[in-house]
């Protein structure tokens, strides 16, 4: 029996009069790579922001690990095990690459203000664990040698890998990747695919929004297609590619009818 890590039921989001996500029922099976695709403006990023808690749904609900997320803010969802990356990267440019990843360990560590101020052993021990773990994730994405670098001094491909390391450092059950392939060259895309598979093999469920069809078709075990906020198809990559509605959505109605 398959177990669902993420489920949305009748998820609906409107901004003023504009419907961005229209009654989407999504089922994400644990331990798989699921890809959400669709033309520009299909509501993919809005869907991500709803799952991550940046927006609250107008109606409908989201279940994570069988429990409704309700109105939990993003930082609580991170603590529950939902990690994400952003389309526009959003690295912290006021710290090193390693420190960026260390922030990922925030909700996996406890020590605060007073322990730090008094330099209690607890602070020292936790800090050591945090930096060891961060280094582990930095090595996992292959950026170990750039630990002391400012993230903005790295090329875009490596910045994207760094955001994945930061997200992995939150030790998530579910990783949401928002267009990880955008702006990468063929070689970088290749290693990105390998990394995503490795993450899946660590037992982390991956959901990615992606424009690059080659990347999606190569790694996605399940594909969900959105168009104008609605789910129009889902299935394996090859099933979806043959779907008439999908072809219509991508190529336009007339061509598909012919």
């Amino acid at each position: 029996m398959k177990s669902l890590i993420l489920e949305t039921r009748g998820l609906y989001k409107a901004f003023g009069g504009l419907t961005a996500v229209d009654k989407v029922d999504l089922s994400v099976e644990a331990g798989r790579i699921t890809s959400v695709i669709g033309p520009n403006g299909a509501g993919k990023t809005t869907l991500f922001n709803l799952i991550a808690g940046v927006y609250m749904p107008t109606s409908g609900e989201i279940l994570f690990d069988g429990k409704p997320l309700g109105t939990a803010p993003p930082h609580n969802r991170a603590a529950l095990g939902i990690a994400r990356t952003f389309q526009n990267v959003l690295l912290f440019d006021n710290m090193t690459a390693l420190e960026n990843v260390m922030t990922g360990q925030h909700s996996r560590s406890r020590y605060g203000f007073f322990e730090a101020a008094l330099r209690l052993p607890k602070a020292h021990l936790e800090e050591e664990t945090i930096s060891l773990n961060a280094m582990k994730y930095l090595n996992l994405v292959g950026l170990g040698m750039y630990a002391d670098r400012n993230p903005l001094s790295l090329p875009l491909g490596q910045q994207k890998l760094l955001t994945i390391a930061r997200a992995l450092a939150t030790e998530p059950k579910l990783l949401l990747l928002d267009e990880p392939g955008a702006g990468l060259n063929a070689l970088e895309k290749q290693s990105l695919s390998e990394l995503i598979r490795r993450v899946r093999d660590m037992g982390i469920t991956v959901v990615l929004v992606e424009h690059d069809m080659d990347l999606v078709m190569g790694i996605a075990e399940w594909v969900v297609v959105l168009d104008s906020g609605q789910k129009i198809a889902e299935g394996t990559a090859s099933q979806v590619q043959k779907d008439k509605r999908v072809i219509a959505a991508y190529l336009g109605e007339e061509e598909a009818v012919e």
Binding site: A52, H75, A78, L91, F92, T103, R119, A167
Partner: protein, 338 residues
């Protein structure tokens, strides 16, 4: 990389500065400047609070003088009017200021950027007016005199020499604690908020919680400085906490370097030395005869701020450190060539 190579030098320089700091108040050295140095220590603590708030977490406050004043008046009123032990009064003042900052911080930090600046500006002005108008407690615009000294057992801090060590002790302890916080999990959370709020939230950092938390810390530091201020001067009046006082604190923080803990000393020292020692010497220039010295100060502070922001946007401390590193590198290269 550079920081590691110069680690040894940092310790040597820090050690020399500490020895200098200890020797300053002795009569045969820089004794006459003891009072000036005490004010530098007090303003360093206030500036430090603002550096943590502005430089690390990227939040503006144009009302820091309010917290400085609340601490000062708490200590003055409790210890003089009600005869409470000055240390207890200081503790109560810091606690009350922290609680006040917490309560006010929750709504205020829903605002960002310019709106936050306006709200904190308003807060500062309201508190200043309260100091003036609650005359029956605060002594109104004339202020209060005859505030008792701090003392431990039978040892009273009744000379500037003694207070120098007490107040610099507080100041250095605040700097050390802040340094540790900045390099900790909390400090990373604050810097993350400065870097990108959505990204900070995405890794589990509660942005609103940390903003309020650092606001409370900055308020408590200011409050402690305020208490030390009144027990040093033994006098308090609202003018020390008006809008210009808040602006001067911002100038100190900006000049010292917003994102550097130790820069707070530089900022506070630069402005106090300028205001207390250098500018008064120009008072008798015929051109400035009819001027109010306060206006002259503000003009000079403003110019200084512009110059520093243009040439050393990271502040004097970081600017000078970088200049030193560049000089050292150039020197090392020249040696390598020859």
């Amino acid at each position: 990389m550079l920081a590691k190579a110069s680690d040894k030098w940092v310790w040597i320089v820090a050690g020399l500065l500490l020895v200098l700091l200890i020797l300053i108040p002795f009569k045969w050295f820089l004794g006459p400047y003891t009072n000036l140095m005490i004010f530098i220590a007090i303003y360093t603590m206030v500036t430090l609070g603002l550096c943590l708030l502005m430089g690390y977490s990227g939040q503006v406050s144009l009302g820091q003088a309010a917290f400085f004043g609340i601490g000062a008046y708490f200590s003055a009123i409790l210890s003089k009017t009600y005869g409470v032990n000055p240390w207890l009064a200081m503790l109560l003042g810091a606690t009350a200021t922290g609680a006040f900052a917490y309560v006010i911080g929750i709504p205020i930090f829903r605002l960002r950027g310019n709106y936050l600046a306006m709200a904190t500006l308003g807060l500062g002005i309201i508190i200043y007016i309260l100091f003036r108008q609650l005359g029956q407690y605060t002594g109104g615009p004339d202020g209060m005199a005859g505030i008792p000294y701090l003392s431990v057992g039978g040892f009273a801090f009744n000379t500037a020499f003694r207070r120098y060590f007490l107040i610099w002790g507080f100041c250095l302890a605040s700097l050390l604690v802040s340094q540790r916080i900045v390099n900790s999990r909390t400090g990373r959370a604050l810097r993350a908020i400065h870097g990108s709020e959505p990204a900070a939230e995405s890794v589990g950092i509660s942005v609103s919680f940390y903003k309020v938390k650092i606001f409370v810390l900055s308020a408590v530091l200011s409050s402690l400085a305020g208490s030390l201020y009144v027990h040093h001067l033994r006098f308090v009046s609202p003018q020390s906490f008006d809008f210009l006082a808040s602006v001067v604190i911002v100038v100190m923080a900006a000049i010292g370097g917003l994102a550097s803990i130790w820069g707070a000393i530089f900022g506070a020292a630069a402005i106090r030395i300028l205001g207390d020692e250098i500018l008064p010497r120009f008072e008798n220039l015929s051109l400035l005869k009819s001027w109010d010295l306060d206006y002259l100060n503000i003009i000079v502070y403003g110019l200084l701020l512009i110059v520093v922001m243009v040439f050393m946007p990271q502040g004097l401390f970081v600017g000078m450190r970088d200049a030193f590193e560049r000089w050292r590198l150039k020197h090392a290269q020249r040696e390598a060539v020859t």
